[in-house]
């Protein structure tokens, strides 16, 4: 299994949901360093752990040789996060509407909907046989710096 790579603004984790906790700690530490408010930190952590969870399970199919790459930076009053996996991608148009009566009681299918609700911009790129890259942008309220 590949090792975790952690550098300022970058973390690469193996395809195992046990690493989500480490990812959350990395996000919180990085975002606090950027001076992001606690409420915005929570929105970003919810969204990124959501995408990483999807990338591990649906993208990389929990293949221990594949990784999820997360980059985070502060640009012009916004946080930009890029989450990449090594899976085969998914059809964004085929995602079911989680608000319809028949889907409301389903256990799954709300992840991308929640991310789109919490972030200001969500850009999904499917690279054929070369993974999915999702870019998130969240305008933030800074508490210091």
């Amino acid at each position: 299994m590949p090792k975790v790579i952690k550098e300022p603004g970058k973390i690469i984790i193996p395809s195992d949901v046990a690493y989500l906790q480490m990812l959350d700690e990395f996000l919180e530490e990085t975002l606090r360093g950027f001076g992001v408010s606690e409420s915005d930190i929570a929105d970003i952590a919810i969204s990124v752990t959501e995408l990483a969870n999807n990338a591990i399970i649906h993208g990389n199919k929990e293949n221990p040789e594949k990784v999820v790459d997360i980059r985070i930076k502060l640009i012009n009053g916004a946080v930009e996060i890029i989450v990449s996996d090594e899976g085969k991608g998914f059809d964004t148009l085929a995602l079911p509407d989680p608000l319809t009566e028949e889907n409301l009681f389903k256990e799954n299918g709300r992840g991308i909907f929640i991310v789109r609700s919490l972030m200001d911009k969500v850009d999904i790129k499917i690279r054929k046989d070369n993974g999915t890259v999702i870019k998130l942008v969240k305008k933030i309220k800074r508490v210091h710096k």
Binding site: V17, A18, Y19, L20, Q21, D24, S39, A42, A45, I46, S47, T49, E50, N53, P98, L99, L104, F105, K106, E107, N108, G109, R110, G111, F113, I114, S117
Partner: protein, 113 residues
């Protein structure tokens, strides 16, 4: 996430603490809810006072617990939902599905009626 459990009269109160984001901790809550159903427990309150946030995995666990509980003649109610989680319940419309109380006491009283 840590999970504690207690029982008042015949109502089981589950008290997760931390964040519910997927992984082994989330499995713990999922398994606990299904274990309660197997044990014939019909009244469950999930007290979310100490849960900072959850993502769709957490919401999925709660909705799965609720439907399984109702299919077995029971009920799962929420207490002390924090602002962040309430906003997620609102945008996903799950706020219309759960009985949600501002305090544990109110949730307990609701089982008496």
């Amino acid at each position: 996430m840590k999970l504690s459990q207690r029982e008042i009269n015949d109502v089981v109160i589950l008290e997760p603490k931390g964040k519910i984001m997927g992984g082994p901790d989330a499995t713990l809550l999922h398994d606990k809810l299904h274990e309660l159903i197997k044990d014939g427990k019909k009244k469950v309150i999930v007290d979310l006072a100490k849960v900072d946030w959850m993502n769709s995995t957490g919401l999925g666990i709660l909705i799965s617990g609720l439907t399984t509980m109702r299919n077995n003649g029971g009920e799962l109610k929420l207490a002390n939902v924090t602002d962040k989680i309430e906003s997620l319940l609102t945008i996903t419309k799950l706020i219309t599905v759960f009985e949600n109380y501002d305090s544990l006491e109110e949730a307990l009283n609701s089982f008496k009626t």
